[in-house]
């Protein structure tokens, strides 16, 4: 399988990427690591006329300590997020989530910004960043803006990014208790997307693949805040979700998985804390 024909354009800086995007308009798409986009193009689910390759924009590959938060360049590869000493110490949930993405080859190519901008509801990192209350820094023709994770994911493969805008940095506040984390991913084979997944940091709970976007399990969080036990709070995990049915699992089975995985995640996070 080969992708449909397109014109390849290479950016070597953020400014060049934005200029290329402005030049080619809606026919163009940014290419980060390509581990989601290229497979979609081979299947003809996507057929951009122009690909703007960001792989040579080295200025967006970093993990930096900014005191109260960690700043991660959008083109930082999953492998580098997973092995970052800073993240393993201060935000282990994020490093461990990056380690759960795909397989080693995919983690050597795929980037954190690519995963966020692609916004697959079954992806691992968007839910974890939602649980961590991350902020996404976006650059575009009209300047720079910051979008909280809670306002970023709009629908299936749909985000708050406007045409021509580029996600440049992910800012992750350092949790008060870094160790109070858990990442649960239920799938049939190691390389599959999560049938359902759960990211927990403290009492923040986010769900993977329980709707068209990653979701906060708001009912669970408010039950915990009112003093409910983990077992009782986890029973509310499917409230406010809209899981689909497919060949892998029915909606009812996904809801069951959400309740079980949320309980396991909260128990693990509380045992680690």
């Amino acid at each position: 399988m080969i992708p449909p024909s397109f014109t390849y354009a290479r950016a070597t800086s953020v400014d060049e990427a934005l200029a290329l995007a402005a030049e080619h308009g809606e026919d163009a798409k940014y290419l980060a690591g390509g581990q989601s986009l290229l497979p979609l193009m081979k299947l003809r689910f996507a057929a951009p006329a122009v690909l703007i390759d960001l792989g040579h924009v080295t200025e967006l590959s970093y993990v930096r300590d900014e005191g109260t938060y960690v700043a991660i360049g959008a083109l930082t590869r999953h492998h580098d997020v997973a092995t970052s000493e800073l993240l393993l110490a201060d935000v282990p949930l994020l490093a461990r989530t990056a380690e759960a993405v795909g397989d080693p080859q995919i983690r050597h190519r795929g980037t954190i910004g690519g995963s966020v901008a692609h916004a697959d509801a079954a992806a691992d990192l968007p839910a974890t960043l939602l649980a961590l209350d991350a902020t996404f820094v976006v650059k575009g023709p009209s300047g720079t803006r910051s979008v909280p994770a809670a306002e970023f994911f709009k629908g299936i493969f749909e985000t708050a990014l406007e045409p021509g805008e580029l996600l440049t940095e992910i800012q992750v506040p350092k949790p008060a208790k870094p160790a109070a984390w858990s990442f649960q991913k239920f799938n049939k084979r190691a390389i599959d997307f999560a049938m359902v997944g759960v990211a927990v940091q403290g009492t923040s709970v986010a769900l993977i693949n329980m709707g068209s976007t990653p979701l906060r399990a708001a009912a669970v969080e408010s039950a915990l805040a009112s003093g409910a036990s983990i077992a009782d709070a986890a029973q509310l995990a499917a409230e406010g979700t809209n899981a689909g049915s497919d060949i892998h699992a029915s909606k009812a089975y996904r809801e069951h998985l959400a309740r079980v995985l949320v309980r396991r995640a909260l128990e693990e996070a509380s045992a680690r804390a």
Binding site: M1, P39, H108
Partner: protein, 164 residues
Amino acid sequence: MDRYPEGEHKVKVELTVNGKDITADVEDRTLLVHFLRDVADLTATNIGCETTSCGACTVLLDGDSVKSCTVLAAQADGRSVTTIEGLASDAGEMHPVQQAFHEQHGLQCGYCTPGMVMAIVSLLRENPSPTEAEVRQGLEGNICRCTGYHNIVKAALAAAEASQ
């Protein structure tokens, strides 16, 4: 290349493959695996699923394992690629991972073998003394349809041991 009949726009790609510089103008959408097989004439890298699932096409890009069916040749421009042809010494002495596959009978039909070997070379570079569980996890991106995993894992562990 016959594989890409419709394309008009071409991009210049310069790669170092197994230590040798190769430059070619190829259609923009050319995948790295096709560049390696059809332009560089290095056909040991197999094309398996072509959907980023099976790992048969695994090569090293600047030392890290990648699935060459899911990298554009243009994305690899200016970088260094190692295929399994580049592992043995010039004198023909096998790489420790190749030697271990030979000794542990780490293959049956052999189709997944080049990808398995390259994935293990990358794994051992990152983790020179893996546990058996770490080897199995490190090979989650490679499928052996003969299901010959046990001897492949043994070979990885033997190679790690031999390289100490």
